[in-house]
């Protein structure tokens, strides 16, 4: 068998891997302290004016669906709560770090990639809602970033990305199966590595790392399970494109644990569709 290309190390050594704005770290620290006031958080966010204006656009969009205009960050915190605002900031920052950098490679359109990611976030959020999870917003972010490793690969090792893309297409296999056949690393691991570097919450890190292999014995199983399920449903509904034209097999365990057998799929699909329409705001503000 052909020797696998060793790319893991070269990825770990890349110094230009996107970073999240310092405000995220500051927010995380502030939010850990129960004494923190809305003003303090507002001040921390508004130190980054570009980010603050995006956050305001997002909280005023149909995605958050709040009636009436929210005009300041402090107002947003009072109305939406700390955790929602932090999630908005995180989402806007992730978009900032990646969007509009390059156009992908031949056959792989970044717009389609982001559409797949947003749709997956929207689906994860809808599944979280319908299954009674209290982590709807976190699930949206997890779905949004689940394939972030592909972007890193595409931006930093475009030749290898192209190789994996073509190999997947020619052999009619999934992108990660193609990566497995060619390299010593997959996009799940690359994404997981980035999520760790970014200090994203552990459940988000695991959802990125294990969305193709959810295991109930691992920590933070539910979020991984929800993203696994969302990815498959979005492929079935054909929103965007994550780099291959195949669908992974749903884990029996995920299906059972989420109680999907008792959920009317047509109703869930409708909810996902509505959520995607609202989430398309993310493509407009960045």
């Amino acid at each position: 068998m052909q020797q696998k290309k060793q790319i893991r190390q070269s990825l770990e050594l890349i110094s230009s891997i996107p970073t999240l704005p310092v405000v995220i770290e500051k927010l995380t620290r502030l939010l850990q302290n129960p004494q923190t006031s809305a003003e303090e958080i507002g001040k921390a966010i508004t130190t980054d004016q570009a980010l603050a204006s995006k956050v305001l656009k997002l909280v005023n969009s149909a995605f958050y669906g709040f009636p009436g205009k929210i005009s300041t960050i402090t107002h947003a915190i009072v109305i939406l709560g700390f955790s929602t605002v932090k999630n908005v900031v995180l989402t806007a920052s992730i978009f900032d770090a990646f969007r509009k950098k390059g156009t992908g490679i031949e056959g792989f359109d970044l717009e389609h990639f982001w559409l797949h990611s947003i749709a997956c976030g929207a689906a994860a959020q809808s599944i979280a809602k319908i299954t009674g999870s209290n982590q709807k917003e976190e699930c949206f972010i997890a779905g949004l970033v689940h394939d972030i490793g592909k972007i890193i690969l595409c931006q930093h090792l475009p030749e290898e990305f192209h190789e994996a893309y073509v190999f997947a297409k020619e052999n009619s296999i999934l992108f990660f199966q193609s990566e497995n056949a060619l390299f010593d690393v997959t996009h799940q691991e690359i994404g997981g590595f980035l999520a760790e570097r970014w200090n994203l919450p552990k459940d988000l890190q695991n959802a990125v790392k294990f969305h193709h292999a959810p295991s109930p014995t691992r920590d933070y199983y539910m979020m991984t399970a929800i993203v696994h399920c969302a990815d498959i449903l979005i492929r079935a509904l054909n929103y965007g494109n994550g780099g291959d034209m195949k669908i992974p097999v749903m884990s029996d365990n995920v299906w059972k644990n989420l109680g999907m057998d008792s959920i009317p799929l047509s109703q869930l699909f409708e909810a996902i569709n509505d959520e995607i329409e609202k989430a398309s705001i993310f493509l407009q503000i960045t």
Binding site: A236, L237, M245, V249, F269
Partner: protein, 107 residues
């Protein structure tokens, strides 16, 4: 054959069925080449619809829908190839297919 309202009659259409008056008498027999002027006269006789030769318009539409049905099925079968033996995947396939078909028809 297609059933059309008499005011939609165009020159050169051929009757597929006899046109009968209220008492059952044949006004025009099958195979007659008709014109729009004749269509207007039929209206005066109290005839509202006639059956002429040719394909129904809606058949054309149905055909277009069935093409997209086929396209959809082909596309989905490509994506799902090799996994539909799995009962969960089969369920997802069927639900997604019907949902997407329904969406296409709405559009």
């Amino acid at each position: 054959m297609k059933k059309i309202p008499v005011d939609k009659v165009q020159d050169g259409m051929i009757l597929f069925r006899d046109v009968c008056g209220p008492s059952g008498n044949i006004l025009l027999s099958r195979g007659t080449v008709i014109s729009s002027a004749l269509g207007r006269r039929l209206k005066n006789w109290g005839i509202t619809t006639i059956t002429v030769e040719g394909k129904e318009d809606s058949t054309q539409e149905q055909k277009e829908v069935s093409v997209s049905e086929e396209e959809l099925r082909n596309e989905m079968q490509g994506i799902f190839s090799g996994v539909t033996d799995n009962p969960i995947m089969k369920k997802i396939f069927i639900a997604a297919y019907h949902y997407r078909l329904h969406k296409t028809k709405q559009e």
